[in-house]
Symmetry: C2
Subunit: 333 residues, 2 copies
């Protein structure tokens, strides 16, 4: 079998992407050259940043044009190798995108130990989203014992790690999410103090009740009105960590942001986290977090579907905020 | 003569204040009690923050109610004293507000040496606005040799000091102001590299021309669209110092702020400066800045009128951005 099934961009999405913006295509499995490896995808990670890449708005990736394979991080098995670091049968994290097979020269590839944790976690809580949470919280959030850390998109892989790491460091976590099911998971599975359903509850009133002395750290994955409300409810010397802007990935033009007047009053600081700046911490993070996972100190949930052809609908579900946990496509073997 | 002329609030201003929102009133010159001093105002400082106090939006001052004397920093001469630190004839900085005489227990009062600098500078470049510029720029802006520092309201007492101190520390200053006359002063008198008239020029285009590698520090005195444009034109690791929000002091509800997406891309940080946090630096600042003034390294301009009855119209002019330099009311003696 020499066919490589893949998902390509059919139309530039307008607003929230639709399944019909994508289509299945086939190509020949590529041959490797010197120092390259061919991997067969096992798990594909669907992440919000992919929307920005499709639009050409992502800083570190070139726009996906019509006819191009959609990008994405993957866990794959090495099928053939001409690279001295990798052997047939090795399991690696790589960036095959939305296709069955991919070739890489090893750049950005990382070998996995299948015995240390479930493979798909390398795309979620032990992968890029986990490192984002770890670096963003510890470097910019600077959580202290008993600090109140509020995080939006709290049931997602970044959000759940922010709240769980905060608790490991002695702080208290409060989540914001968009369904009661998500809120229950955030409280019962991830151990947050509380979780607010921003769609059905009065977010500002509930924040004032839960955090009467203000928020010490707001870890923002969404932007928009949620960010605006949090800026008005900060404790003195609070830290806002800007991580994601889920409310605006599907908009054509960037909307206004929060009024910054309250930032001055609370002497808060605002910093953005870009995970690519923090790969020097990856080894420490994975070693720590793998331990936490084994000890049961961190938990995770995945929203998994089977079969590459499900990637478009599963991605659209993520874009509508209807996923419950880290969005994973597992290939049918 | 025992009459104390003063200006009181007649109406709560809606939008930009009008002269008719204020009226002249008279009272008896107050008597001092134990440990108090009576001062006669020489100079009255008009500052944008007063607008916030009138609305009740200022964090550190109680709202000015109808019938109350308008607040403000003043330079005055001690007329009678029962305070061991002050003698008749001493010149002090105090907060008499918009009136001829005031009584104080010495809190927040500072004695001036009339030989060291013109008295009115204690309300401007050597006073609260100067300290704001000094602390905000050096503590949060962290200017480095050859950094490009952009400052809005550049001809005002904060703005002109930010740009001049930046130059003393080896950085380059670029101003933003609202008239050609202001821009000429900023360049020719204060030595800025350039100054953009945001009302007649394309601000974003000009910033891109003057700062092709981005802005290292943006010292913001205005908020609004200017702040939004600057966030899109930052150098890597830029610092935004939030100091004033002139665009919104006269609005009933706080407008949205800048989109914060670009902050993440440029790894910028945002901090607010509140001058009250930095009075520990006042002595150093005054000593340094008095030296700079004597050596001709810093210059200043004042928009001075004579007579307390001119305070309302002069304040309204400031609120419309039509002042040219630090707004001072000098009493007729």
């Amino acid at each position: 079998m020499t066919i490589n099934k893949k998902i390509i961009l059919k139309n530039n999405p307008v607003g929230v992407p639709k399944e019909t913006d994508f289509e299945i295509a086939e190509s020949i499995i590529p041959e490797i050259s010197e120092n390259e490896i061919l991997t067969k995808t096992i798990h594909l990670s669907l992440d919000p940043y992919i929307r920005g890449v499709i639009t050409g708005r992502h800083i570190y990736s070139e726009k996906v044009n019509i006819g191009d394979t959609i990008v994405g991080r993957t866990v794959g098995e090495v099928i053939t190798s001409d690279h001295h670091d990798y052997n047939k049968g090795d399991i690696v994290v790589c960036s095959n995108g939305w296709q069955e097979y991919g070739v890489t020269n090893g750049e950005g590839v990382r070998k996995l130990d299948p015995s240390s944790a479930p493979l798909s976690t390398a795309l979620g809580i032990l992968g890029m989203p986990g490192l984002t949470a770890y670096a963003g919280l510890l470097v910019y959030g600077e959580p202290k014992e008993n600090d109140l850390i509020v995080v939006s998109a709290a049931s997602g892989p970044v959000g759940c790690m922010v709240g769980q790491i905060a608790q490991i460091y002695g702080a208290k976590a409060v989540g914001i999410a968009g369904t009661n099911e998500k809120c229950e998971t955030v409280i019962n599975k991830f151990g947050f103090l509380d979780c607010i359903n921003y769609k059905t509850e009065n977010l500002e009133q509930r924040i004032k009740e839960i955090c009467p002395n203000g928020i010490d750290v707001y870890f923002d994955n969404v932007g928009g009105e949620t960010l605006n409300i949090m800026t008005r409810n900060l404790a003195m010397y609070a830290r806002i960590v800007l991580c994601g802007f889920m409310t605006q990935y599907n908009l054509e033009t960037p909307p206004p942001g929060p009024n910054l007047g309250p930032i001055v009053g609370s002497r808060a600081s605002i910093k953005g986290v870009v995970v690519y700046d923090h790969y020097d911490k990856q080894e420490d993070f994975i070693s720590l977090a793998t331990g936490w996972l084994k000890e049961g100190k961190i938990k995770y949930i995945e929203d998994e579907v089977f079969g590459l052809e499900k990637a478009p609908s599963h991605f659209c579900k993520l874009m509508r905020g209807e996923n419950h946990g880290k969005t994973i496509v597992t290939m049918e073997q």
